[in-house]
Amino acid sequence: MGIDRRSFIKIAGLSAIFGLGGKAAFELLAPGDVDASLKDIPLTQANTWGMVVDTNKMTDEIMVACKSACHKEHNVPEWGDSRLEVKWIWTDTYEHTFPNQGHNYLDEQFAEKHFLVLCNHCDFPPCCRVCPTKATWKREDGIVMMDQHRCIGCRFCMAACPFGARSFNWGDPQKAPIELNPQFPTNPDYPTRTKGVVEKCNFCAERIARGLIPACVEAANAVEEDSLVFGDLDDHGSKVRGLLRSNYAIRRKAELGTGPNIYYIV
């Protein structure tokens, strides 16, 4: 004898309730266990990492320090040839930094000034849209990350980026001219890249994971307090938001709609 329709539905209903309940309990408990075990590790988290450059406090000396700290941290070699140049953070003229902000009566102090530029970690990064292998993508915390293992070197992202923030490795960084890079690799804890991949600023994702601030911010603040500030743009109480509340700040090429997350106090 089989079971009638009524008891079949009853059994099925009860099984579904137990099944769902069990799964929910598992999902609720399991992440807690993981969180607890990682409690003693300094993890810094944010919704939207961003940076504020105070151009009034920025000097050439600080910018050199930022660049050198970053490139040392990430084993970025000096090639001595602008066509081969690899850069994560660099300086550029007013005209190139803010191409739509110029006018005939712009004072020399601005027109001839250099600005610190780097990857803008855009809200809508065009580089990620064009990548055919998903080697570059937008992380949940706002960082536009790059997976060198997956990059095939097609350079679509370089064409897509309106800020020129990406560089191609025309040669093997470990074979960069030794006279220009006497102590290369400068950071034994960080890898270099290989010939044929694209690279760019990663907002020091590896440092953030250890509870440190980006190398450029550390270097800048060692010279002049608050000349470069890093923080969570979604956190109302963060220092970056405080600076944006009390100062007027502009972004590079905001009209393109990529939503840059580097702000310049002018």
Binding site: L38, M145, D147, H149, D172, P188, T192, A205, A209
Partner: protein
């Protein structure tokens, strides 16, 4: 047989070329791999996981670590023993196994593989 001399000479040359790799390596068989542990690795007694697991699965583990770290930003590994490790070939693995030529390369060379890890990741400086 027409042109017998030429054919036989040709055949001899052909077989010499064909068998050259075997003849060249004759009697030069490399010894079985003998990976050495550094003092630090010996003192630690246990790697991230058990020795047998690491022996057979280290490549899969490293592959998994690399995806998790780069793509998911999950940088810490909790081992079967409950210990937490920072997932990094260059920092964590090579801290103990700082003798790449006497450890990693021993087996890799023997079975003739060249992992491309070292195209980017920096090899530790060895004292010897």
């Amino acid at each position: 047989m027409y042109d017998g001399g030429k054919i036989i000479t040709g055949l001899i040359i052909f077989f010499m070329l064909l068998l050259f790799p075997i003849w060249y390596q004759l009697g030069k068989a490399t010894g079985v791999p003998d990976p050495q542990l550094t003092q630090k690795a010996k003192e630690a007694e246990r790697c991230v996981e058990t020795k047998s697991y690491m022996k057979t699965q280290h490549m899969k583990m490293l592959d998994q670590w690399r995806s998790e770290v780069v793509r998911n930003a999950e940088r810490y590994y909790v081992s079967g023993e409950g210990k937490t490790y920072y997932k990094s070939l260059q920092v964590t693995c090579m801290e103990c196994h700082s003798n790449k030529t006497k450890f990693c390369d021993q087996c890799h060379d023997y079975i003739g593989i060249t992992p491309f890890c070292w195209d980017c990741h920096i090899e530790p400086e060895e004292n010897t």
